[in-house]
């Protein structure tokens, strides 16, 4: 409850009972009781305008709980090899039974990890939790290639489902299509349909496509020229052979001794030495 309140305050600035109810998936009257309990503990206070805030004390306790939760999650995945979709519930149970000393031992044992298995930052003792980085999948445009940074672990049922579908932190997805109410994304060659509510809970950042030297591509790969370096006659020659930015190149074969390499560009086959090809930077075209 406190964590949910913390999350709500992070995103909305204020606390409300109906917001809490939505976040923890409880009927509103139960959420109201929870809020009262928080007030009683002195973790939440009501200001002059009737708005509710976490108190400093509440803030610190919330941080402690988040830290405990994420450390436990990490421990459960790493040491007890629990499946990712089940650790949340177990961590929810254990986080409340942990004394600060136990928590520090856990942290040391795990080697002071920075991330939990969902991609969330584990706050240091006494530090604030940064808000999730990246943007929700729901606001991405089709064609984007994204890397999932973080999947919200609440509500647990939805989280378990997303993980089962392969939507875990670190996974790369491509947004195929966006329609009102749902989103189609490509993960590992499979296309998934995601409800907008689910897409809202997945935070991702664009995958930076780093141009690589053409000479490093394996046989059979296709790539698009990003940049032609080198200057002078050499650069000019490469350009005239059709290796201009935007041109598509296919790696056909290597010579019997591995060098030079034959490429197809603009419908013509040319052989280049790896060292010469390396002055051409390309972005690999993965599929299609």
């Amino acid at each position: 409850m406190l964590k949910a309140a913390h999350a709500q305050q992070e995103t909305e600035g204020l606390l409300s009972i109906d917001g809490l109810a939505r976040a923890v998936g409880l009927p509103e009257f139960l959420a109201g009781q929870g809020m009262e309990a928080l007030l009683a503990f002195g973790w939440v206070e009501e200001d002059a305008q009737g708005g509710m805030h976490l108190t400093n004390e509440g803030e610190v306790r919330a941080q402690e709980l988040i830290r405990a939760h994420r450390l436990w999650e990490r421990y459960l995945v790493e040491r007890e090899e629990m499946p990712l979709e089940t650790v949340h519930t177990e961590a929810d149970r254990r986080e409340h039974e942990t004394t600060p000393e136990e928590l520090e031992r856990l942290d040391t044992e795990l080697g002071h990890p920075a991330w939990d298995p969902h991609g969330d930052i584990i706050p240091d003792a006494g530090h604030r939790v940064p808000p999730p980085a990246g943007s929700p999948l729901a606001v991405c445009t089709p064609g984007d290639r994204l890397r999932i940074l973080h999947v919200e672990d609440e509500p647990p049922a939805l989280f378990a489902q997303l993980v089962a579908m392969g939507l875990k932190p670190g996974v790369e997805v491509e947004v195929v299509e966006r329609q009102p109410g749902h989103l189609r994304v490509k993960v590992d060659e499979g296309i998934l349909s995601l409800a907008a509510a689910a897409a809202e809970r997945i935070h991702a950042v664009p995958v930076p496509i780093l141009p690589v030297p053409l000479g490093e591509l394996p046989v059979g790969s296709r790539a698009r020229v990003a940049e032609v370096k080198g200057g002078g006659k050499h650069q000019r020659r490469m350009l005239d052979m059709g290796l201009v930015p935007g041109a598509e190149v296919t790696v056909i074969r290597t010579a019997p001794l591995g060098n030079p390499v034959e490429y197809r560009v603009k419908g013509t086959a040319i052989a280049l030495r790896r060292s010469d090809a390396d002055t051409v930077l390309v972005e690999e075209v993965r599929n299609g």
Binding site: H234, D240, P256, K266, G267
Partner: protein, 687 residues
């Protein structure tokens, strides 16, 4: 009626069938020479059509007109200042986009262009269709589909070029959209150029300035546009230099790189044209080139295949040389007998008969009989392999090993040709664009054992080593390859030091060779000329040898000029265990290495003419120890290129310095290697 003349420049990428169309149109009425001051070949030909005299100039094959290589400078300068009435641009329809890069550059220079869309048969076979009308509209100049090897479309091509030359067919050349940024700068520079009085081709000059074109920039630096064939009436050198400074600033403002942007937009334009005009009719299937390449460039199979190729070519050259040489020799000996009989019957003095028959005719005959057959075979084989598309694959496979001596794959091809005849090897070096590598090829090709020296070497090895002849000859083959590699490495470490140029090798699809075309080209274009030179060198040399051996008449051998030479040269060879007789014979073998055996017979005083004799072969094993024999053979294989190779080196380099280097490199290598062998052998206890 005065003759109406049209001058036509034929431009195109390499390997698009340019020379096929050129030869088909001009037939045998052509003149092959070099471009002034350059080692790039220039071919010109004339033909007639409906009262027009059409003069064609074959421009070097280039991918671009960017003035980055001598070929590009020549092609461009010809179009700019050679003032052709029409430019025929021959385009490979199977790689239209890459070819359009050149086409669009030509269209920036002149609007009088006719495009020959060649290799249309391959396009059809590949399951494509090209909408010629649409292409014509997109480019704004006549486009004629051709299959040059079958002669298809050539008359339409000529018709179109006459129409364009007469002006009865209007052209509206396409203008590449270089994008807003570049366009803005081009227009600004164009306005400046116009102010300076440069009206003609101002857009092209502006583009070239932005592209940092070396030739154009140099002309502006010098303040002289006349060299570019451009009229700039009111431009002072200072004004031009000021414009250049402004250009440098503007160039900086185009991101990321003006040159890249310009070429990129040109290709984008080409791409948009290609998308509009090419349609696929059938799904793509694997081409035969694909599977042949998989075998020919295979990790394992490529090696035996290449070895087999070399062996077959070499074997045919040697065998064909023997057979053809036999016929020629028979013919010459008949001729010589007839000449002698006739001279005797008219009671010519002894020295006329001797000089003319035993010297001139006998020597020249031997040289021709020895060199002509292998040269013909080799030129044909080379041309066939080239037409077939195998040579680029060999260069592809062997580039990596050649990198270790600082060279590249194509050099191996010249060595392969040199095994047949060093002259062909030197001439084959013109396939290498990189100047340093080309020179290294020319200088090292003579180190490779040619079929002539191999044949003579075998004859000697058999009498000197008996059963051991085969391993001895094999060791010589490898030794010569090693010497050539070592010399290449040495040259690249000293004379040709510096950044190696980039290695770009086009891998054309395999094509059926054009037999008639190939043989005609090989024989007339090269062999006849080369043979004529061979005779020019061999005739005086063999005459001189006869004179040296026979005058004054009737004196003992020691008092003839040869005797004196043998005596005089003797001290020179001591370090290497080579006697005066050997050195003199080696000198005599300069016209052609094949005459080494009769030359030895002369220097050992066994005979006075260059006629084959068994006598010397029986004599040599008695005076030469095995070590000396081997040393002599090695020296003989390496020491000097034959005179015809020297002439070929001169022809290919047009430089006294490189021709002399062509003599020095083999001599140095021969001296080094035989020194090691002889002295090493001595240390090991051989006599």
């Amino acid at each position: 009626m005065d003759r109406k003349m049209i001058t036509v420049g034929v431009a195109g990428n390499p390997n698009v069938g340019k020379s096929v169309i050129f030869n088909a149109l001009t037939g045998s009425r052509q003149h092959v020479g070099n471009w002034p001051g350059k080692t790039v070949e220039r071919a010109e030909g004339v033909f007639h059509y409906q009262g027009w005299e059409i003069r064609m100039v074959d421009l070097p094959g280039t991918y671009s007109l960017a003035a980055q290589s001598p070929e590009e400078v020549i092609a461009r300068d010809y179009i700019v200042s050679g003032a052709p009435d029409v430019v025929i641009n021959i385009v490979d329809a199977t790689s239209l986009e890459r070819n359009l890069n050149l086409t669009l550059q030509i269209l920036e220079l002149t609007d009088r262009v006719v495009i020959a869309l060649n290799l249309m048969d391959e396009v059809e076979r590949g399951g494509w269709e090209i909408d010629v009308k649409a292409l014509e509209e997109a480019l704004g100049v006549p486009v004629v589909p051709t299959v040059a090897t079958e002669g298809e479309g050539l008359s339409e091509l000529v018709e179109a070029l006459v129409e364009v030359a007469e002006g009865c067919r209007q052209t509206h050349p396409a203008s590449v959209d270089y994008g807003l940024t570049v366009k803005g700068y081009v227009q600004s520079l164009q306005a400046d150029l116009n102010r300076l009085g440069v009206e003609e081709r101002s857009r092209w000059v502006a583009l070239k300035l932005l592209e940092d074109d070396p030739e154009i920039v140099e002309a502006f630096k010098q303040g002289d546009l006349a060299a570019l064939g451009l009229a700039a009436p009111s431009a002072s050198p200072e004004a031009l230099q000021a414009l250049l400074r402004r250009t440098v600033r503007l160039r900086e403002e185009i991101r990321p790189d003006a040159k890249v942007e310009i070429v990129r937009h040109r290709y984008e334009f080409a791409d948009s044209v290609v998308r509009r005009v090419i349609h696929r009719l059938r799904p793509e299937e694997e081409s035969s080139t694909e599977w042949i390449d998989r075998i020919v460039t295979h990790k394992v199979w490529s090696w035996p295949i290449m070895l087999a190729m070399l062996t077959i070519v070499f074997w045919i050259t040697v065998k064909g040389g023997e057979i053809g040489g036999g016929w020629l020799e028979a013919g010459f000996s008949w001729l010589i007998r007839a000449a002698r009989t006739w001279l005797v019957s008219v009671q010519a003095p002894w020295w006329v008969i001797g000089a003319l028959v035993d010297g001139f005719m006998m020597g020249t005959g031997t040289v021709i009989a020895a060199m002509l057959p292998p040269m013909i075979i080799l030129f044909i084989a080379f041309a066939l392999l080239e037409d077939l598309g195998l040579l680029p694959r060999v260069a592809f496979n062997l580039d990596r090993p050649m990198q270790t001596v600082g060279s590249q794959g194509k050099q191996v091809i010249t060595w392969g040709m040199s095994f047949g005849c060093n002259v062909t090897g030197v001439m084959a070096s013109r396939i290498i664009e990189n100047k340093k590598v080309r020179l290294a090829s020319i200088l090292t090709s003579p180190l490779i054992i040619c079929s002539g020296s191999y044949g003579a070497g075998v004859a000697l090895a058999i009498v000197l080593f008996g059963e051991g002849a085969l391993p001895v000859m094999l060791s010589l083959v490898f030794l010569s390859l090693g010497a050539a590699s070592l010399a290449t490495l040495g040259l690249n470490k000293t004379v040709f030091r510096g950044e190696p140029g980039s290695f770009v090798l086009e891998m054309p699809p395999y094509r059926k060779p054009q037999f008639g075309q190939v043989i005609w080209r090989a024989l007339v274009d090269r062999v006849a000329l080369t043979m004529w030179r061979a005779v020019e060198f061999a005739a005086p040399a063999t005459l001189l040898i006869w004179v040296l051996g026979n005058i004054p008449r009737g004196v003992p051998f020691e008092q003839t000029a040869i005797g004196w030479l043998v005596h005089g040269l003797a001290p020179l060879g001591q370090l290497w265990g080579l006697s005066g007789e050997m050195l003199t014979a080696l000198l005599f073998a300069l016209p052609a290495k094949e005459i080494i055996v009769p030359a030895l017979a002369m220097t050992y005083g066994l005979q006075t003419t260059l006629v084959e004799s068994e006598q010397v072969l029986a004599y040599l094993p008695r005076v030469w120890t095995p070590l000396i024999s081997y040393t002599f053979l090695v020296f003989f294989m390496l020491y000097f290129p034959c005179l015809v190779t020297v002439w070929a080196t001169w022809k290919e380099t047009r430089s006294l310095k490189w021709t002399l280097m062509g003599l020095a490199v083999p001599l140095v290598m021969a001296a080094l290697i035989t020194f090691v062998i002889y002295r090493g052998g001595r240390l090991l206890g051989f006599a």
